[in-house]
Symmetry: C2
Amino acid sequence: MTELTESVSRLINEFARLPGIGKKSAERLTYFVLRMHRNEALAFADAIRDVKDNVRYCRDCYNLAETEECAICRDPKRDRQILCVVEQPRDLMALEQTGVYRGLYHVLLGRIAPLEGIGPDQLTIDALVRRVREGSFKELVMATNPTVEGDGTTLYISNLLSEMPAPIRITRLARGITSGSVLEYANKEILSDALTGRREF
Amino acid sequence: MTELTESVSRLINEFARLPGIGKKSAERLTYFVLRMHRNEALAFADAIRDVKDNVRYCRDCYNLAETEECAICRDPKRDRQILCVVEQPRDLMALEQTGVYRGLYHVLLGRIAPLEGIGPDQLTIDALVRRVREGSFKELVMATNPTVEGDGTTLYISNLLSEMPAPIRITRLARGITSGSVLEYANKEILSDALTGRREF
């Protein structure tokens, strides 16, 4: 297109590669950057660069970190006898925001998804098994997503760990109706989870 | 939040400043950048930087350009007797994509908006008057947005130009029903524009 300068169309293309951003949004964002103060735009560019330069995975748990160990693994106040296994750092973040869990984490960096060609080897399952074997964890809280693939990953890991000499207690997140929802709109699966998992009042 | 590294939360904040991107989207985009190849992420950062470093306004028409003159002003095949006035470079782009218009443009870089404190002095109206006075334009196509402010800007400019010694023909974009729309859903204003502007069949 003759009417676009090369830098402008390149930035539109870069924005359009981000998830959930179409061609029109990419154009709008590009015009926004064009009208930003120079310093603000450069701060944005630097923030992208810094994330790639500074952020790495925690040596132990594969959470995001800017040092060898992440802030949670470094925190002396965390309970080192309980380990929560999640798929992604953003799951960890969501759990942390509840403030309910005070143990450590292990981030798998994905889930087993045969259809996408993702096997156990591409995840951090080896490191998890090593941590469990060498550590003194009393409980493993499986917090993978409640999907076919998340459940499959949890099953795979619990099979692997049940073969260990000193078996560990493995739990998973409760399933049932969600707080604030309406019973009549819950589907069969949700309701059968809620019935099966019912607790003393 | 202890669970976020400093670089990660900075990038989330930067994304959240963009229009139409809330906190949750900003987080999702940041995680996407974290999972991008390093080279891709750096290309994105460079594209932002390059837009600020390379793109400026055309000396004559204030379209976006990477040289002193924009691609349209430089193009010898454009009709130099007709000038189309738009609010923003993106309006120019939308008109160019039709392929119907072959004249030159003038970008106002905004519209007169007293409520936002934007007066004629903050736009490129002076430069427009100078171009019209010094050029040999036969027609001025006013293509500001069909809003109160766009119409007001067009009125202001046509008053200004009517005082010139050799008055120029001033037109504006046709208004009426939009192709592909349904008559019964058009509002009163659209229908009265369509009736007033009716043409021989």
